[in-house]
Amino acid sequence: MSHGVYAQLLDLACGVFLLCAVVVLWRRELAVVVRVLAVQGAALAAIAAVLGGHERRWGLLVVAAGVGVLRAGVLPYLLRRALDVGAVGGGPYREDVSEGRETRPVVNVAASLVVAALLVLLAYAVARPLVALDPTPATRALPVGLSVVLIGFFALVARRRALAQVVGFLVLDNGITATAFLAASGVPPIVELGVSFDVLLAVLVLYVLTARMRAAFGGTDLDDLRELSDR
């Protein structure tokens, strides 16, 4: 792979990765958000694959394949199922609209998009000294990872639905993984494996928790759970 093509592909993957994080904040339909999350996972796998192909480290390619399967396949599939469980029982024409959409985010969509823009600028400003250490194409794209971390944090606090918050958590984790790939060409496969299983487990636990919440309270609006009540 020639150097120019490598930089171009890496930039393209990073651009798609960052764009997906912004689209997660942009869209309200949780089904669309989950699909975007799958695309982001694929972009993350592409970043790892491009880096591995460039540095000829086959371990990284294996990690890329694993990341792709987990983040573009398994996790979105689990979220999708958690989403569908909410719609079951209503029949095809009585889909539970309030559960499938982030109807009333804490921060409205236009404002959260502007916040996302500010977070990207912040990430760029913060990462500049790091980039100056060794300005290769991968390090230069470091702000992408940092800004996805920040946007994930923001999605975590700005959304009400449990599933939307899980998506925010996964975006945050994608950002951390991307930062690791871009800054240090990835962590050792065994650590990556551990982290991936951790994430998988967290999502499984949250999946079960969401289902129980829905069974107990009829909804997953986390603001209703702030105070104790006897029901």
Partner: protein
């Protein structure tokens, strides 16, 4: 070179002025066919214009110069933009002043003139349309300027011919994330600026939803023909601008007449493809509520901002 340059400018204006109604007719025809209707034919806008031009000019009582001048300003401003933008050739006598910011300003001049005309009529609809149009324009303007900024960073200049010539020299630039994001933001901005479907419905006359139509409701006869021509030319020029920025191949950088003819043919083809795609997309989309328009435009603003920021940290060596 200079003779061909003058010919190029004249040809651009002529193609835009003559082709814009045909483009609108073509888009309506595509839409009609996709919806299972026969359609009125591609030249229907020209027939409408001929019908309107034969009528006697009527203007509402109590309207002043703003109402009378707006159609002329709209058409004249758009014609100047058509001359400035390097749609067919980059080396023209006006290429030195073809600045992107100037182009945006000229287009905004037309918008403001129409809004003033809408206010001038003193009717409820005119005022409502003008206020909506200004709201949208105020949100679109920063997006367009940021997208312009992102596109001009690799070229190091906001001069349009320089940007286009630079992109022809370095084809890899069009695939860089910054350029793609900027073009996407620009497309949303163009949709809002020309009043196409997610923002405004060009075919509606329903009070609650119309934006552009509400402003020009009081025009009749030749004035209406000019307003229609002006908005059609605007759509054609903006689609041409997007096509030229996103896929500048074929734009004549030299001075040979054969290249110029080829460039004009390619321009017509590119704009026709874009128009077809736009019309086809409109069939499947609904207009968003007016209160949701800021959300859409905030999204495109963020895209443009990401394009600017991205062009700083997503340029490996390839983009330079």
């Amino acid at each position: 070179m200079s003779a061909t340059g003058y010919v190029a400018v004249a040809a651009q204006v002529a193609v835009v002025a003559g082709g814009a109604p045909l483009l609108t007719g073509w888009m309506r025809q595509v839409r009609a066919r996709l919806e299972g209707r026969a359609g009125a034919g591609v030249v229907q806008p020209w027939r409408d214009a001929r019908k309107l031009l034969r009528k006697e000019p009527v203007s509402p009582t109590g309207t002043g110069p703003a109402f009378r001048l707006a159609p002329l300003l709209l058409v004249a401003g758009t014609a100047v933009v058509a001359a400035l933008v390097p749609l067919a050739a980059t080396r023209t006598p006006v290429s030195g002043s073809a600045d992107l910011i100037l182009v945006v300003a000229l287009l905004a001049l037309g918008t403001v003139a129409l809004a003033l005309a809408g206010l001038d009529t003193g009717t409820a609809f005119g005022g409502m349309g003008a206020s909506r149009e200004m709201t949208i324009a105020a949100l679109v303007e920063p997006t367009i300027l940021l997208a312009v900024f992102a596109v001009s960073i690799p070229a190091g200049s906001t001069n349009l011919p320089a940007i286009v010539a630079g992109t022809i020299d370095h084809p890899a630039r069009t695939a860089s994330p910054a350029e793609l994001l900027a073009v996407a933001a620009l497309v949303v901005a163009v949709l809002a600026e020309t009043g196409r479907i997610p923002v405004d419905n060009p075919a509606t006359h329903l009070e609650l939803t119309m934006v552009h139509e509400a402003m020009v409701l009081e025009y009749a006869g030749p004035d209406l023909a000019l307003v229609e021509l002006g908005s059609q030319m605007r759509l054609a020029v903006l689609l041409g601008l997007v096509a030229t920025l996103a896929a500048p191949w074929g734009v004549a950088t030299g001075g040979s007449p054969a290249l110029l003819a080829l460039a004009l043919a390619l321009l017509v083809a590119k704009v026709a493809v874009l128009g077809t795609a736009l019309a086809a997309a409109e069939v499947f989309r609904a207009k968003v509520r007016l209160f949701k328009v800021p959300e859409l435009l905030a999204g495109s603003f963020v895209l443009a901002l990401l394009a600017v920021v991205g062009s700083y940290f997503l340029t490996g060596e390839a983009g330079r």
